[in-house]
């Protein structure tokens, strides 16, 4: 049974594309055939984060308009077997994604992949709606910060009412919360909402917490999904997320301030 999973947030800049790339790469690494689809028409970026920007020939809209076949537009990742990306179009035409076109392509992708990850654009307009509409599961990315949490709640409301599953009265979209850019030091000082605070407000199942990490910028600079940086905190946190997403159990890590030993403190480690 293949699954369509949307990565969404409402607010921009919280880590949707980073998360979509990391989770897609992680699922593929676990042997799941995975495709990640960029829905951000006009602001294509998933290709950069995955380091395949120079291999884009055809895109999502080309396929919808019949100018290319799906297989010509799909780019196979060179590092991870079983991972493919469908890049967004850079057209300025906001209506380039049609309802039927999106439905057809997602159906075709379902045939060939175990997971179809939809990287939603920010906002709640057409592009975001189309990215969420066909979803079986949703990963809502939030930062521990007021505007992001409020927007996440709004997005959760839309997932419950404006998706295919909601309209057909099917089992609702399964929602997961992923809290990113988490800084345990500031949480301990009472300067940042804690994971418990955010969960209490949003009341959604917690898929994972990604710590604020330099590894994320380093990875996107290099065009590599951060999950492949296995030594990094963020990479390990995403690996845990993928394990949990596939039904495994992992304790939540990177939630507490790391206590430095006396030597660490003396030498400033």
């Amino acid at each position: 049974m293949s699954k369509i999973v949307v990565v969404t947030s409402g607010k921009g800049g919280v880590g949707k594309t980073t998360t979509a790339a990391a989770i897609a790469a992680g699922l593929a690494r676990e042997g799941q055939r995975t495709v990640v689809v960029d829905f951000d028409v006009g602001l294509r970026n998933l290709d950069l984060v995955l380091g395949c920007e120079r291999r884009v020939v055809y895109d999502f809209v080309n396929v919808i308009q019949g100018d290319a076949r799906l297989h010509q537009a799909l780019i196979k990742d060179k590092r991870v077997d079983g991972l493919a990306i469908l890049p967004a179009s850079q057209t300025r035409d906001k209506d380039a994604l049609t309802d039927e076109g999106v439905a057809q392509i997602l159906d075709a992708l379902r045939e060939e992949f175990d997971y179809v990850i939809c990287d939603s654009p920010a906002g709640i307009e057409r592009g975001a709606h189309l990215a969420s509409y066909h979803a079986d599961e949703a990963i809502v990315v939030a930062n521990p910060e007021v505007s992001s949490v409020r927007d996440s709640d709004r997005v959760l409301g839309l997932l419950a009412s404006r998706t295919r599953r909601a309209e057909l009265n099917e089992e609702p979209v399964k929602e997961h919360l992923l809290l990113s850019r988490y800084d345990p030091v500031r949480v301990e000082k009472g300067e940042m909402l804690s994971v418990d605070d955010v969960q209490e407000i949003l009341a959604v199942d917690l898929l994972g917490v990604i710590p604020e990490s330099q590894a994320v910028l380093n990875a996107s600079n290099a065009g590599m999904p951060v999950i492949l940086d296995e030594d990094s905190d963020a990479g390990q946190a995403y690996a845990d997320v993928v394990t949990r997403f596939l039904g495994g159990e992992r304790p939540h890590r990177f939630l507490a301030v790391e206590r430095k030993g006396i030597f660490g403190r003396m030498f400033g480690g």
């Binding site: 709004r154 949480v187 301990e188 009472g190 605070d197 407000i201």
Partner: protein
């Protein structure tokens, strides 16, 4: 302030608890409005306009509330008229 107080108060001294309280209020307010038909705000504006043809009332005088029960919805209109004396 003793050392124990310092540790006890640390979580209250930052701004996170303010963020949490503000979020809880706005999120519950927005959830209550969610799912209602899109015409409610317009309906409210137009009602306000009609009422104002006859009496001077302020923005908050007209309240429109949608309640959902098992199999029916009720639309409650609450119009507060000003005191005669004022």
């Amino acid at each position: 302030m003793g050392l124990a107080d310092y540790f006890r108060d640390r979580s209250r001294s930052g701004s996170a608890h303010v963020a949490k309280e503000r979020l809880q209020i706005i999120v519950s307010h927005e959830r209550a409005q969610r799912g209602g038909p899109d015409y409610l705000p317009t309906l409210r504006e137009e009602l306000l306009e009609v009422v104002r043809r006859y009496v001077t009332v302020d923005q908050e005088a007209v309240r429109v509330k949608l309640d959902r029960h098992e199999d029916r919805e009720t639309l409650e209109l609450n119009i507060t008229l000003p005191d005669r004396s004022s």
